[in-house]
Symmetry: C2
């Protein structure tokens, strides 16, 4: 098996890459990096050598001697490496830009502000309690989904863009998973919820679910 | 002039797009969206209609009737639209992934956590004062640059990737500009600093500088 994915079951960015690997029908070995246990395995010397940012995921393709970080970059690499199975980026320039932008609406403007290390920094730096942290997370997820729900009104079909799964869906599903954890009321987002359900009906998404991973607790 | 860029002089994401437009030699009209004045012009009904996320930048290409958000997505669109002038994404799959990943190290893992709306939320939600906000910003910029400086040791030349300007440099320069505003000690980062200086020697970067914009104060 050429591909090795270092990640964490609940990490949204790792979840995206698992979905993409499954959609592209690429077999891979999954190596858990526990973000909480013993202060976080991502800070170990071994993992830091793989990924100096001490973040997950890291993807290794041994056949090409390639080691990559950043989920969106990894997914585009997979898409360019296996272009014929379930293309995740459309072929037309303008459509490509729209799909990437929606993915980045999530991967740049939502997830980084509500991920584990930022929530921990709020606890450490500002004595934020559980309620504060939940309010913070909800605020950014609601802000992001309000905007995405509007964008989807002009373009969505069965999935974010018409009737094909794309990078946008690969990012949307883990973000909805997180939103539910934070107690966001998803009934405010009928289009996002419909697309989430349509994705979850696919095997590739089910197998990538956090609870289906070997390191889930 | 077909291209219209809605942005803000000090916005890091707008700064990236200005650099890219200049490098690609694409003339454009700049429409300032003041992020502070009167509670923020990005929240106006007119701007929200352009960009429901109420973030800058938004790029319009009237010739194609295209309206795009997200700086990285916009820059890849420009690169695919004008491929022959100063390519910002390399042609080989693996190199493409590395350039995108470094850009995303900045655009996903650094900038979103220290941008204006997050710093304002710290003030509003956690009574953060100026010192708290500065410490928060420094923390994430230092964390990000520590990791990027290490990555650059294996690959950097005159620019982040060898001797050609890429998407990574287009993201790096605005982040260094921000780091200086936050008082980060850049002598810790000799490679980043050298690349920053090499970029700043180019006309395209100089013309994109925040202080060179019509809305700079």
């Amino acid at each position: 098996m050429d591909y090795i994915l270092h990640g964490y079951w609940r990490s949204s960015a790792t979840y995206r890459v698992r979905i993409a690997l499954n959609l592209k029908q690429i077999p891979y070995r999954y190596v858990p990096v526990h973000l909480v246990k013993e202060g976080g395995e991502q800070y170990s010397a071994d993992y830091t050598a793989l990924n100096p940012a001490q973040l997950v995921p890291t993807l290794i393709n041994e056949a090409e001697d390639v080691m990559l970080n950043q989920s969106l970059s990894i997914i585009e690499y997979l898409d360019e490496t296996v272009p014929d199975i379930c293309p995740l980026i459309p072929s037309h320039r303008v459509e490509r830009a729209r799909v990437r932008a929606l993915a980045q609406d999530i991967a740049c403007d939502m997830q980084p502000i509500v991920n584990l290390r930022v929530l921990n920094a709020l606890r450490d730096g500002f004595q934020a309690n559980d309620d504060d942290v939940k309010r913070w997370a909800q605020k950014w997820v609601v802000k992001g989904f309000d905007s995405i729900e509007k964008r989807l009104q002009t373009q969505a079909g069965k999935f974010c863009f018409d009737f094909n799964v794309s990078l946008a869906d690969v990012c949307l599903v883990p973000q909805v998973y997180n939103a539910k954890r934070f107690g966001v009321d998803m009934t405010m987002y009928p289009l996002i919820s419909k697309i989430y359900d349509n994705c979850q009906a696919l095997d590739a998404f089910q197998k990538a679910a956090p609870e289906a991973q070997s390191d889930a607790i």
